[in-house]
């Protein structure tokens, strides 16, 4: 090859090289649509939203930019875009949008997650509306009249519905009624008829799994005096380990399987939702739960469905799935032993307190010893505290290995409520009705007879001073042992 030919070859390849560099420049500029962060693609209609909202609500845009959605080209219109037939559609800067992004919208991409969620108890959380709890929020604690917001009790609007979900109403101007929105309650009834709110756990606009896997996410609602699951978890070894080794939890991993991507501790999501090497992820949080500890008398989670003639996954299968999760950290015997301990606590609560108090209350209501109005008599508050607050604390404490919640916040207070409040108040109410005579007096006598029969059972006898000789002996030996052991 002559020198000149070589020079020509260099020129020709050089031109090709420059051409390739131009392509490199093109790729680079396409990737840098939004300036700072590359790889964020956004449709032209969403770009208008981004341009404006970067000024008006910059954090919202920043959060979205840090999301997987942004990286995958899911912009504003992809979720907020609406059809003219949508009840909540309104024209905003030339685009037809809806403020509320419902699970139906999310299901366009996340169909499986939505299907699982719709079958869950979470999706039905708004069923509380019309329940006993809601009477408290709407009538007893709150007001639906002059003190209401658009006819709704501020207690329900700000309290109950923010966890359970509101029924979103759309006003004539196409915007949601402020009494029903903002709301991210997990069972929200959306204008499109769908149930739920994905942002209840996933939060806008970053939608990070790190957030939804945090116990704090569940703790927004699962806390407080009536169902302190978050506090119970924190008291348990599980929560202690999580706090100590949070940095090892690999919370953003995908997939996120106990014993594979992380092994330091379980969170709520680990046991109730997340995948293992054997189980898939589920958005139906009840799929690994065997007991329903919510009502006055605990029942197996499939009991209601069986009563209604529906076919659901039996509680035994759900428990087996939970055991699979447990087995990622615990040996078989340990898990079996735990379930025996847990079941014994639930059985004790049901038999000693749940069933007797509920049957007495039913008798008193039916016999008109109590009025038809709920919560107008002290005994109704006592009963409510017993099962709804203290009874649940005892049961939930046992379910998630928190000894103090089981004992002092739980069974101790249940017992105190039962013996020191419930029993005397039943007696006073019945004796009052007996003094007054009439048909109600007969009902009251039957209630007292039932109460005496309950207190006459082995587990309550001590209260009547009728402890069996065996039990007396056992107590005596225990007291002596105690003195001897601790030299008191």
């Amino acid at each position: 090859m002559s020198l000149n030919t070589k020079k020509i070859v260099i020129a020709v390849i050089g031109l090709f090289f420059l051409g390739a560099l131009l392509i490199v420049g093109g790729i680079e500029s396409n990737k840098r649509v939004l300036g700072k962060k590359a790889y964020i693609k956004v449709s032209s209609s969403s770009q208008n939203c981004v341009d404006c909202h970067t000024v008006t609500s910059p954090s919202l845009i920043k959060q979205w930019r840090d999301s997987q959605h942004a990286l995958k080209g899911v912009g504003c219109i992809e979720c907020h875009g609406a059809k003219s037939t949508d009840a909540d559609a309104w024209s905003h800067e030339g685009a037809l949008v809806a403020v509320i992004v419902s699970p139906k919208d999310c299901s366009k991409c996340h169909a499986n997650e939505n299907e699982q969620f719709q079958a869950s108890h979470h999706a039905d959380a708004a069923k509380i509306i019309g329940s006993l709890d809601n009477v408290l929020a709407e009538v007893i604690e709150g007001d639906m009249g002059a003190l209401a917001l658009n006819g709704q009790s501020p207690v329900a609007v700000n309290g109950c519905w923010q966890c359970h979900g509101s029924v979103v109403k759309i006003m004539e101007n196409g915007r949601p009624d402020p009494a029903t929105w903002p709301n991210t309650g997990i069972g929200r009834i959306n204008p499109d008829g769908s149930k739920g709110s994905c942002s209840a756990c996933h939060s806008r606009h970053r939608f990070s799994v790190v957030v939804s896997r945090q116990p704090d996410s569940c703790g927004k609602c699962h806390m407080g005096p009536d169902h302190p699951q978050k506090e119970i978890y924190e008291e348990s070894k599980h929560g202690i380990a999580f706090k100590a080794f949070k940095q090892d939890m690999n919370l953003s991993a995908q997939p996120w399987r106990a014993g594979i991507e992380y092994s330091a501790a379980p969170t709520c999501a680990t046991c109730h939702m997340s995948a293992t090497d054997e189980l898939p992820v589920t958005h139906d949080v009840g799929m690994r739960i065997s007991w329903n500890l919510r009502p006055p008398i605990s029942e197996k989670i499939d009991a209601k469905a069986i009563q209604a003639g529906e076919h659901v996954v039996p509680w035994q299968d759900r428990r087996e799935d939970m055991k699979i999760v447990c087995s990622k950290c615990h040996a078989k015997n340990y898990v079996e032993g735990f379930y025996m301990q847990f079941d014994s606590a639930i059985n004790l609560y049901n038999e000693k307190y749940g069933k007797p108090t509920t049957s007495i209350m039913k008798m008193m209501k039916a016999g008109k010893v109590l009025t038809a109005t709920n919560f107008d008599e002290e005994l109704e508050w006592t009963y409510f505290y017993l099962w709804h607050h203290e009874g649940r604390r005892a049961r939930h404490g046992a379910s998630m290995m928190a000894p103090d919640y089981t004992q002092w916040h739980g069974f101790f207070e249940v017992a105190e409520r039962f013996y020191m409040h419930f029993v005397p108040q039943v007696r006073i109410a019945c004796e009052d009705k007996i003094r007054r005579g009439g048909e109600v007096a007969n009902a009251a006598k039957q209630v007292l007879a039932e109460l005496d029969s309950i207190l006459g059972r082995d587990e309550h006898k001590w209260f009547l001073g009728k402890m069996t000789d065996d039990e007396k002996d056992r107590r005596k030996i225990a007291a002596e042992e105690f003195k001897k052991r601790y030299a008191q």
Binding site: M1, L3, K6, K7, V9, I10, I13, G14, F16, F17, A20, L21, I23, V24, I27, E28, K31, R32, K36, K37, A38, Y39, N250, A253, Q254, G259, I260, E261, Y262, S263
Partner: protein, 358 residues
């Protein structure tokens, strides 16, 4: 010539004279020294292969420095920083892709250059030592590939490092010591990453630069192998100038390489798998392709035989000029070296393809 330009020239001359006193180098002597005529056979492209790894090495140094601006060698941040280079840093994906593809091409061209040297018998007296330097260059290049790959810290990279250091551990006597030294302990930890990083950006590049310099100096001292193709026999001039003729050949290669690397970066940009997870062994652990043959060999034999076999192979490769001499003396006409080379090369390719296909 005007007075003005004369005064200008004299100023330049003055400057050169000033410099010559302080840097006593004879320009003419340097020209002769660096511009030795090279034999005609170098006009064949096959004989320009030796220059290509050097060109690629230069590309690696430049792109490597750019990557160093952003890479963070800690287990917590290594993966994120590579991801940042790929996704956020301006032209980061391009620089990283060039670095990746140049590393692969560097290994290919070193191997091709060695094959050329082997099959043309250019390792024979008096060039035995340079062959040995070349073999060491090959292993340093492979070492750069291995350490560089482990820095990415995604699943495959992490587990390739695990397998690689475990292979090192199976070497008799010094193996476990060497593996512990590489890893900074019995397991892959943050220490390992620091060590891989140090090897990749300081020790091995410095070693390679020294070896390449030594390699070229020895070439210059020995002269390029005298080799004559039939059609060259009738040519009047047995040589042609290094500059500009051979220099332009290398320039064509350099620009062609840059072009091809850019195309590779555009079509197959360097990817990034899942972040390294020491708790989860992926289903298919594989080293980089250039270790496929070694990996397959180890799978076929037991670890001990596999490793000892490879040590023997490396020994034979390094000492080949002397072994070849023995063969040549015993069987002067058998051209055993060609057959052994052919069988060896085919064996390497077969093992590589086998591992690639399963």
């Amino acid at each position: 010539m005007s007075m003005k330009s004369m005064s200008k020239k004299s100023k330049l001359e003055k400057l050169l004279a000033w410099a010559k006193v302080r840097i006593p180098v004879d320009v003419q002597e340097m020209k002769t020294l660096t511009n030795e005529p090279v034999p005609n056979h170098l006009k064949h492209w096959w004989f320009a292969l030796g220059g290509t790894p050097a060109i690629l090495f230069a590309i690696q140094i430049v792109t490597g420095i750019f990557l160093l601006f952003y890479y963070v060698p800690t287990p917590e941040q290594a993966y994120q920083s590579v991801s940042k280079i790929s996704d956020e840093v301006a032209f980061g994906w391009y620089v990283r892709s060039i670095h990746k593809w140049a590393s692969e091409l560097m290994i290919v061209t070193v191997m091709l250059h060695m094959s050329r040297v082997y099959f043309t018998g250019a390792y024979r007296k008096p060039r035995e030592l340079n062959w040995m330097v070349g073999v060491v260059i090959l292993f340093v290049t492979l070492g750069l590939g291995f350490t560089g790959y482990s820095l990415i810290y995604d699943q495959l990279s992490y587990w390739a490092a695990v397998v690689g250091t475990e292979i090192a551990a199976s070497v008799p006597i010094v193996g476990s010591l060497a593996a512990d030294f590489l890893r900074g302990g019995p397991e892959i930890t943050g220490q390992t990453l620091t060590r891989m990083y140090l090897f990749h950006v300081v020790i091995l590049p410095a070693l390679l630069a020294g070896l390449v310099a030594l390699h070229i100096i020895i070439v210059r001292l020995n002269g390029v192998t005298e080799f004559e193709f039939d059609e060259e026999k009738k040519l009047e001039h047995k040589t042609f100038p290094l500059f500009p003729n051979h220099f332009l050949t290398e320039a064509i290669l350099a620009i062609l390489i840059l072009y091809l690397l850019t195309l590779a970066a555009i079509i197959f940009p360097a990817g990034l798998g899942e972040v390294a997870n020491p708790l989860m062994t992926p289903e298919h652990i594989k080293p980089e392709w250039y270790f496929f043959a070694s990996f397959r060999w180890l799978k076929l034999t037991n670890v001990y035989v596999g490793v000892v076999g490879q040590i023997i192979f490396v020994g034979v490769l390094i000492l080949w000029p002397f072994i070849d001499k023995i063969f040549e003396n015993k069987f002067p006409k058998a051209e055993l070296s060609v057959w052994i080379g052919f069988i060896g090369f085919t064996f390497y390719l077969t093992l590589t393809l086998w591992e690639a296909l399963v």
